[in-house]
């Protein structure tokens, strides 16, 4: 299962001549780091920065919006709540492709092509999963707590910030992890909106490595690929517990 990864790391430390040996050799002789240096040079700091900024902004925005909406659906009154919720759920079934071009048109009309807001803001529309998840989560908090707080004179937003929000930390990690993952690895949307080198994100830079098939050394490709995964791997290692619980629990409501 993990073999491609192992091979990727090994390969990135080898000279190309060794990678292409047939049958393949699995120990780097000599072990070189030049692939990584070239990869960094090729990818550039800007690319990493763009990806990080993009992922962070999207995650932040989606969390804030979903938290608020989830709380509202769970605890507050909204006109037409049931209908809205129904539309929410149904929208998941629609394959995203349908919206791709119109979304592009909207972004173009706003003058956001090839801008940060162009890639980030449309993601704020992806609050369905988060809202649904937070709503379920908040529903499990007993009414009594809410009522007690209200009797004690707390306002609605006050109750939210002081009681519900702190309790939601595990749920927030789960949704944040999923959203960050999707943003970091997103390819098709950034491909659609961005078109200059300085705006590029990692997934785009990686895909360009394959354009002229054999002119970029395989070692550099592997090194770049691994580099693109490192930030996410780091986050994953630290957040693994929440991550697995989070994704697992979304399937548990049955």
């Amino acid at each position: 299962m993990g073999f491609p990864f192992v091979w990727m790391i090994i390969g990135s430390l080898m000279k190309d001549s060794q990678i292409y040996q047939f049958p393949p050799d699995f120990i780097p002789r000599p072990l070189i780091l030049s692939n990584y240096i070239e990869a960094l040079h090729y990818l550039g700091w800007r690319t990493f920065a763009n990806s990080i900024f993009f992922t962070f902004s999207v995650t932040f925005g989606v969390i804030v919006l979903s938290l608020a909406a989830g709380f509202a659906f769970a605890r507050l009154r909204i006109p037409g709540k049931k209908i809205i919720f129904f539309i929410f759920i149904v929208s998941i079934l629609v394959p995203w492709q349908i919206g791709l071009i119109p979304r592009f048109v909207i972004v173009a009309k706003l003058g956001w092509i090839n801008t940060y807001q162009g890639i980030i803001v449309p993601f704020f529309g992806n609050t369905v999963l988060g809202t649904y998840f937070f709503r379920n989560y908040f529903s499990t908090i007993p009414d009594d707590i809410y009522n007690a707080a209200t009797i004690d004179g707390s306002s609605v937003p006050g109750t939210f910030f002081r009681i519900y929000l702190p309790l939601a930390k595990p749920a927030i990690s789960a949704i944040a992890a999923i959203t960050a993952l999707n943003a970091w690895n997103n390819y098709i949307w950034v491909l659609t909106v961005l078109n200059t080198k300085d705006m590029r994100v990692l997934t785009l830079a990686l895909s360009l490595l394959t354009a002229p098939i054999n002119s970029v050394s395989m070692g550099i490709i592997l090194a770049s690929t691994f580099l693109s995964m490192i930030p996410l791997l780091l986050v994953y290692i630290f957040a693994q517990k929440w991550f697995v619980e989070g994704i697992g629990s979304t399937g548990l409501k049955y």
Binding site: P4, I84, P95, N185, Y187, I188, L206, L233
Partner: protein, 299 residues
């Protein structure tokens, strides 16, 4: 602030909840409407037009749909590729991950280590793993060929060969799906109440029977969920793989619906036609999902 609002609107507790209900949910709903709902509706509408971004739009009614079914010679291949892709990816992704999940529950030692390994493909971007797999599939230097050396006469370029290209792409997708599905199945299997197993054991049920009569029925809703999710993500991510590795070729053999739709829309600038393709696709998926949910409801 709160007292101000209360006095201003003379609000009772109930109405205060209404006010905040709207206030809290509005931002999310607004973004959802603008960037999700409107594009979806627009998408459907666009399929009735001809548009190439440069010239103005022209209403052409059902022409795009007619073209899909009769006028486009490549559409047949696209449909075949899509069906094959679906048949290759979905069952394998679900079944293999189920098996792995069950195996994982039996292995007590090093469990979190194995769990991490299985989870890894999920963290990597589809673009990244496509690049790595490209090497595996390479004709003269590929890992796969070197391992099959004893069975093959000549080296096969898996991604360029019309017979195998789609299969190659499918395998990558299955590999990625398994990672995610295992997590869901693990959670589901772990949640089956012990007393069900005990009752069955008392009745004399043995290991394989336990699996068949308790485990599977108990996690059926999860199986449905996993299947739906697999379908959705396979088409979403499948695009990435095809774009990076084969660009729909060779001979359109790997042009699954998703990819063809993008290609027509953005490479060939036939936006109306592209939208019509997505529309049809949506209907197919919707029917499929409804059938899936009916299947679940029967329990």
């Amino acid at each position: 602030m709160r007292r101000f609002i209360k006095k201003r609107f003379n609000l009772s507790q109930k109405n205060e909840e209404l006010f905040w209900g709207i206030a809290f949910s509005a931002p999310g709903l607004i973004f959802f409407t603008i960037f999700m709902l409107v594009p979806i509706i627009m998408g459907f509408v666009l399929s009735f037009y001809r548009w190439d971004v440069i010239r103005p739009m022209r209403f052409i009614g059902f022409d795009n749909f007619v073209k899909i079914f009769t006028g486009d010679p490549k559409m047949g291949q696209v449909a075949i590729s899509t069906v094959l892709y679906t048949l290759e990816v979905i069952p394998a992704s679900v079944i293999i991950s189920l098996i792995f999940a069950i195996l994982l529950t039996k292995i007590v030692r090093f469990r979190s280590f194995f769990q991490s390994i299985y989870f890894l493909p999920l963290v990597a971007s589809t673009v990244a793993i496509s690049l790595v797999w490209r090497y595996v599939y390479s004709a003269n230097f590929g890992l796969l060929n070197s391992m099959l050396r004893f069975f093959l006469d000549e080296n096969i370029d898996w991604l360029q060969n019309p017979r195998f290209a789609l299969l190659a792409v499918s395998v990558i997708m299955i590999w990625k799906n398994i990672a995610f599905n295992i997590i869901l199945f693990l959670a589901a299997v772990r949640n089956v109440p012990d007393h069900l197993y005990e009752a069955a054991r008392i009745d004399g049920c043995r290991e394989l029977g336990l699996f068949k009569y308790i485990t599977i029925p108990a996690i059926k809703p999860t199986i449905v969920l996993v299947t739906i999710l697999t379908v959705v993500t396979s088409f979403y991510n499948g695009f990435d793989v095809v774009r990076v590795l084969t660009q729909g070729g060779p001979l359109y053999k790997t042009s699954i619906y998703v990819y063809y739709m993008f290609e027509q829309g953005f490479d060939k600038l036939k936006i109306g036609y592209s939208s019509a393709i997505s529309f049809i696709f949506f209907i197919v998926i919707a029917i499929f999902t409804v059938i899936q949910l009916q299947f679940q409801r029967e329990d």
